[in-house]
Symmetry: D3
Subunit: 208 residues, 6 copies
């Protein structure tokens, strides 16, 4: 058997990488396929485990909700593997505002409480809304606007998974009102009233 | 040479499809990769040519602009080929309102006039805006909010290409205000004022 | 605004499908990209919601565990969207036996209890094992052997997500012992003893 | 164990397709991802075995060579699996003329004899040519012009594999001279002399 | 709202890259997915805008035509985004000679003038030729031989887009005659006459 | 013609890389798409040729067989090209034990001798076994367990190709018995007897 073992060892003896996984080196520059891989010899089981979703997010904020991501930036072990996760905490009346993930579809699993969720299709702007109870799953197709609201009486918790290690997150309100996009351009391109724009820019820290 | 020709003919004699192209049968059911292919024997050069972008779109409307698509639904020849096109016409002050393409990046080439275009990244909501002149090209990365405005004094024309035969188009205003999404849910998930929501629902034909 | 609405409606008027989603017609024949799409006009929100993971699987069986899948076959809404889910229930000492998913990576989130999980790399056969507590996440790279064991004292529950709507599941024991693969070929190709093979074939219903 | 077996059977009981494979139904219409799948229940081991490469191709033709493909059209079992094969037979002085595979890279393994092979890069038109002996492997990157010539004294045989089930084959001579492309357009777009064009059109059966 | 803003900032605080885009660092080594990304903090709107297509190419050359690319090498902003562009200028009788793009499909939009374009399928070498007028679009499937000729009386201009940031360009004449590929190998693999080969090698600078 | 040549040279003058190929720099860190590219100017034809498969593997070992890979680690020229190869040598009664390739499908071509090969589907654990003779081809779908046995009387040789430059190789026996996975966890997750586990751990060098 000795020779066989040697043969096997030989098989990858000149290899600096396995196809198996590619734990991200976040400090280096990424590329269109993700981040560079750490050397497998330096990888341990802790690179494949993430403990950050075990703690409830702080919902003492204006949306009464929190998103705790386990994307490749927080969890380098998912680099190149085509998926990631996040935890949602929503206090009663809490809301994850209307948003998209530019690069991924999403599956939501309700761990606790009751969540009303919905998305809007690009075809005829059809709305798909449903109130989900514990154990229900809902899918949000890639790139489409969607939201989640806790309309129960207890804190709600959900685990969401994505079809990409780096799904991105574009909250419409933040994209519109939390930067220096000029009110003039924003109003022309959204038909929102000047008063509305200025009010939300003030709340969300936008200028212009 | 006769035998060689026969050999070659033989090579694909049992084939009902070539890898070369897959002109869409739009009537049939699609699948995640696109539409089913028409039989190559029924395909002619006209399946690979689209003449609909040669005519200016009608900009006598509230946005003073028009989008004329050459997506797979209009131009079945691009099915499975990873790209499509559209023509933008913008009268002076015309605007293509804030929108996303859920499944594609976009390149815009200014054929005529002057267009101010911009997109918003999901990272820190950074705004990238530029006034483009004839001949300029701008890229809008997949899934991100962007807009185009004609701030010149003549009609502007642009040709835009996409990285997918079926890029989709989700105009935020339509997604928010042109359907039956309840004002309550919309207001909770966007922080927009009730008056603003009801005003735009009325304009865009929304209910609820 | 009327003209604008018309313009928008026109945009997809000849379209029988949107890029947004592709709810599976399971009765029809699939293809390498998944299943054919149902017509969007027949799709409702219930096609995007799956309630089957809300119920605990029956663990009164030899492995004291259960896998409840929400793959495309159970949840047609994920067709073409690059992800799926499942629920794991493990009674104390329950085990999801050594297995692979031929076409997907997996993320496991512990909803309840304590799970010891591990996978084996193809590079030098390195073992990555960890005991996970409630809220921990572990990733299992695509195609690699892995297992989960409840070594706590209460029932454990996990939600697992996959990077494909149809990840497949190949349990090594079933692949070896629950079919008509001849004992001779199996023993030659696994070095397992004849007595061991025959014992497990008997338990798992294999012949040959 | 009975319950466990039942559980497993249940897992896919409503499934009409496995992720494992997708043997092509060649008679039906294909789609951009390949052909529709045959029902797994009708698939046998013979769908995964192809015997057509065991017989030498007939090299009694003008190129003294033959290509015997095992593409998806001949070997439906490779549908959706990302690879295919072919056998090359070259009598002494035989040649596989300059050609491309529009959709695949190629690996050539010399089974017998001596083959001079080469490809031309698109970057600076660099030529990569080598005389290969039995057991040598050469890779031809996707879409680039390449050729193979037997410059040994015995029949040469090679097995070539492709990175796609349907790699396509475009022999430049046939593309130029074996159809009805007008001599005028051909000469303008290739700078070839009229006499040369007409000579080869005659040999290869072209018109125009 | 302050807490919410903090929360959002936190979301990507440890991130050195966004999924949104990946502007190429051309100086570094590329990889199969493209080039490494520049740090987003160093990216400005000018990285997403390319002005090089606004100027007519110089057509005072033997083909009376010019190709001005906006591929990833000229326009680093398209890196990883699945598309690129180029401008074609053709003086009367100008020609873009027979060529392929090894890695991309192409869409051509006629901005000015009249262009006769065609491609040749690998299936039975069928020719698809059409004379296009201003505003017409034609698609050339990936990897197939195609050409464009100005047979109008004014300069023609076209914008072409590709399904890849780095489509490549292999002009058959250059691949055959503009390098050191030996005349012997070239003649054997193309059936072209020695006089023809030597004539074009001389014109195009080839040796051997 | 001089100007045309210059034009062409200009086209890629600022380019440090072509789309054509990406010969791997194995010393550098890989990424999810493969390895970084060597500069094309340093690449020669020898980077596209591999001679290591011309020599029979040493079968004087416990399995009476040898696998000689031409994966990206041995043959850097295949990096990014979607395929690789290996050579199998099997002395009489030699066996390539039950294994998977986590990231690739496989095609096997019998060059010499007689090989019994089989794979097991994940759907109902169906076994597909066949005795292959010289010239036969068999496909093994990605990620599924399979094996090869020489049950002829002469040495058998096969060439196998993969749908990935880095297919990986997980031999079940080595994954189970050639590392430090504890006997307790292994037995619980495989139902193998303790004596069987300890016997094979001893033979294959495992501990725990």
């Amino acid at each position: 058997m000795h020779l066989f073992v040697c043969l096997f060892a030989l098989l990858f003896s000149s290899s600096s990488q396995a196809a198996d996984f590619c734990v991200a080196k976040l400090k280096g520059a990424g590329n269109p396929a993700g981040y560079a891989c750490r050397m497998p010899s330096k990888v341990t089981v802790d690179d494949f485990v993430y403990t950050g979703l075990g703690v409830a997010g702080n919902t003492t904020n204006i949306i009464s909700a929190a998103v705790t991501p386990a994307f490749v930036q927080q969890f380098p072990g998912v680099n190149g593997l085509g998926l990631s996760m996040a935890r949602l905490d929503l206090a009663p009346a809490g809301v994850i505002p209307m948003h998209t993930h530019p690069g991924a579809s999403e599956l939501l699993f309700v761990v606790r409480g009751k969540i009303t969720a919905g998305f809007i299709s690009s075809l005829a702007n059809t709305v798909y809304v449903k109130t989900l109870k514990k154990g229900d799953v809902m899918v949000f197709p890639r790139g489409l606007l969607h939201f989640q609201i806790n309309d129960g009486e207890i804190n709600a918790v959900a685990v969401v998974s994505f079809s990409d290690p780096d799904p991105g997150l574009q909250i419409t309100d933040f994209a519109f009102f939390a930067n220096n996009l000029s009110s003039e351009l924003l109003e022309k391109s959204t038909f929102l009233d000047d008063a509305q724009v200025k009010k939300l820019k003030k709340v969300l820290g936008g200028t212009g």
